[in-house]
Subunit: 230 residues, 2 copies
DNA sequence: ACAAAAGTGTTAATCGTACACCCATGC
DNA sequence: GCATGGGTGTACGATTAACACTTTTGT
């Protein structure tokens, strides 16, 4: 409360609020999660999700808090972040009743390499038991990515802003864990109009150069469609 | 913190935590939201979402808190509830930095009528401006219901446990706001196996008696499928 | 010239919609 | 017997998956 405490508020002990971020990236075709080693109690020395307290004096809202925490604890900014779910209970944190607002963050691997912070990337299927309820949060994140993946542009955020259809195709295969017919994928992506050709640049790789694309206008960052891409 | 406060916690002012519930029901074919009149400051006398503080001493987790609030403030229990999203900012509540965990609750109208509480049901498209950020929360809830509706059993929870395919058909039409071919709807529902015939009871209405159904085993309350029912 | 990835085209099966039709009951 | 909602069947068009084929580059 800012100035005028009311009866209702004073009566109750306030839970404390954290933001917990599942930061995912793709390291040569495999989904990894950032699990930096904790340097404070509780669970000091153990890997855990990127997280921190909401700073009431500093953060204007939860998204601000998430962005700040990503900056301060992971050294990255301007990446894709969406709210996942909120976990609150008396025993998820040994310090007492806490509310953890969980976020899903997707980032191209290159961005993480540019950051100086050691994020301790671990393949999502080789993660050791985590402190707090972070196992559950991680599971929720992966479930969301897989579930929403086929019907949205979510997986694209694992790529850099500019990409080829080949790269996009491959990311969807990796995220969804299935083979996807190249031809069908291509056609769907193209006539759903979720992507736009950028210049006619080409990749300077080894074989035939590919056209470059970027996500279409839909700034709201998300975009869901009714056809499945897998 | 229960016993041993650490440095990190004491430094920060804690936001307070509320649970805000969008309680929806169908009153003769129209979606209504429960907006009981507030009897406390702030915004005393104005209709607002059903809500309350998390009671750290009493609630074991957020779902507990939501259930308790529904019992105490709406006089109902054992209804369908799912977490919607969490809204937290310095200015959503005049009392200061607050975190509101929003829930979507669906209930058959009959259950509300059994409750003694005056819930002030208002058609969702005729809702006056609400206090706090309740307008936004309500919009999110309706958006979720419409968006998820066609691909899940969500709308079914607006019906009593036992229902006919005709009733189900009609609820989906009302929620989604479209006409749905009766024959196709029927076939999809049936061979998706999301529903099971109960006895061979029949309705004692006016015309030809209909078979009665209930949601199939999938207790986890939810259940999503990949085909659209609309 | 060959490998490898980009990109195009065609076909057969599947799915969904629309519509026509029959059934059981109350009045 | 007729109006009304319950319930079934079918046919046509749209969508998809599967696969074959062509193009363009680096080596």
């Amino acid at each position: 409360m800012t100035s005028a405490p009311t009866a209702a508020q004073q009566e109750f002990e306030r839970p404390f609020t954290t933001v917990d971020i599942v930061l995912l990236t793709l390291v040569d075709g495999e989904l990894h999660v950032a699990l930096p080693v904790r340097d404070k109690e509780p669970f000091s020395g153990r890997p855990a999700l990127v997280g921190g307290f909401v700073h009431a004096e500093e953060d204007r809202d939860l998204e601000d808090a998430a962005a700040r925490i990503l900056r301060q604890k992971a050294g990255i900014r301007d990446i894709y972040v969406e709210q996942l779910a909120t976990f609150g209970s008396v025993n998820r944190d040994p310090r007492g009743w806490s509310v953890g607002v969980a976020y899903l963050a997707l980032v191209p691997h290159a961005v993480l390499e540019a950051s100086r912070v050691d994020l301790n990337l671990i393949p999502v299927d080789k993660v050791p038991p985590l402190p707090f309820d972070h196992d559950r949060i991680l599971a929720t994140a992966v479930y969301r990515l897989r579930g929403k993946g086929a019907y949205s542009t979510l997986p694209v955020h694992l790529l850099s802003k500019v990409f080829t259809l080949g790269e996009m195709h491959s990311v969807y295969e990796q995220v969804m864990g299935t083979e996807i017919d190249q031809s069908s994928f291509r056609r769907k992506v193209l006539d759903l109009g979720i992507v736009e050709e950028i210049g006619e640049m080409k990749t300077a790789a080894s074989k035939r150069p590919a056209k470059q694309f970027r996500l279409k206008g839909t700034r709201p960052e998300d975009s869901t469609f009714d056809r499945s891409l897998v």
